[in-house]
Symmetry: C2
Subunit: 203 residues, 2 copies
DNA sequence: TCACTTTTTGACCAATTGGTAAAGACACGA
DNA sequence: TCGTGTCTTTACCAATTGGTCAAAAAGTGA
């Protein structure tokens, strides 16, 4: 076997690692890093605590693994935004994809929000290394669209911030939204945000 | 002395309770409820742990006290929104006031965000009792403005959600914003959000 | 100054929590 | 069926943490 190459994980390994990560996502997103305990994760996963630590070296490694996995999923809709597409359509599609994620992956959204809220102690390098270059690239794309007269003049940075904040709000502040809503909030949000960004971006 | 009436607090009491609450706001907003320790709060306040517990019955009471104080400050800008004012101006003023709060009271914003993010375990009653009536009232006001033809047709609920999320974003996701910004983000946000909501709300 | 109250502290405790050690149960190819 | 490596559990630990208590110290009014 080549130096340093890991054996391919057995079926049990795959199943249990997945079980643990899914349980950990529940617990971490609900209580934060410090608020989550290995016992809670173990119980949610249906495994014993020492067994959890057979698959992961510690609490922190589980958290970091989740964060790493998350980063890819999280940035994907932004990656998908195509510089050669129709500008307004591309941006509105981006809004819709982000809103879909808030609806379908609220745990992931809250995990991310919690990490950022506490100063990104475990994710700051990722922000610099992965997010920033992508963000700058897409800002340049939007800038280009504006210069070409295809979009209204807006600051691309704050535009993206506002897309992030308005969509993720429905996952991160879900309890509040639930208390204050009568009908299905996400569907209302889809209509509202589509109209909002359409008016803001149309030339 | 009348039954159940508490003596007025001495100067020392006032000073130390304030010291503790300020330190606790630092620590809770930075690490969340569970992540904060009494030792950290004690050190930040410059008092010993037992002394902290002389002024507050426990960790939870400190947290609840902060949350209660916060609620008032937090809702104030919305309370200020005047049904008899000029609609567009009232709403843009509200946006600016919320942005000022994100700049001047980021700890409060993060404390609130953390509590909501984790399902508002200690604030759910407040949301129902204080926030919801005010929210419904102001939604009706906005609805009235729209019916009077003074504002563009938008869902008032989602309008308010979008004001909250876009402004608080600059406090709650500060690290991310810092990583991705070149200039002073709040000033850029003020210009951007003013233009955004102006376009959305103008008839 | 003196009696009395308020404030502060050091020593301590029980529960929780992340993590370990080692023995036992289990799967599976020979 | 047996032996070997994989997986699981029981029992345990040391550190942390929220909180207690009694006594000392510091104010305070007469």
């Amino acid at each position: 076997m080549p130096d340093g190459a890991a054996k391919k994980p057995s079926r049990i390994q795959q199943r249990n690692r997945h079980l643990i990560l899914d349980a950990a996502l529940d617990v971490f997103s609900a209580h934060g890093y410090r608020g989550a305990t290995l016992d809670q994760i173990a119980e949610a996963a249906g495994l014993s605590k020492p067994n959890i630590l057979y698959y992961f070296s510690g609490k922190e490694e589980i958290h970091v693994t989740l964060l790493n996995q998350l980063m890819e999923t999280w940035l994907d809709p932004l990656v998908e935004m195509d510089a050669n597409g129709e500008p307004l359509e591309e941006l509105l599609d981006y809004v819709h994809r982000k809103l879909d994620m808030a609806r379908d992956l609220p745990r992931e959204s809250r995990l991310f929000a919690g990490e950022i809220l506490q100063g990104a102690p475990r994710m700051h390098p990722h922000l610099e290394a992965d997010l920033k270059p992508l963000f700058d690239e897409k800002c340049a794309v939007i800038e280009g669209w504006i210069d070409a007269g295809k979009l209204a003049k807006v600051d691309p940075r704050h535009l993206i911030f506002s897309i992030w904040s308005t969509t993720q709000h429905y996952a991160d502040f879900d309890v509040q939204v639930q208390v204050l809503s009568d009908r299905d909030p996400i569907e209302g949000a889809r209509t509202y945000l589509d109209a909002l960004f359409r008016r803001v971006l149309s030339v």
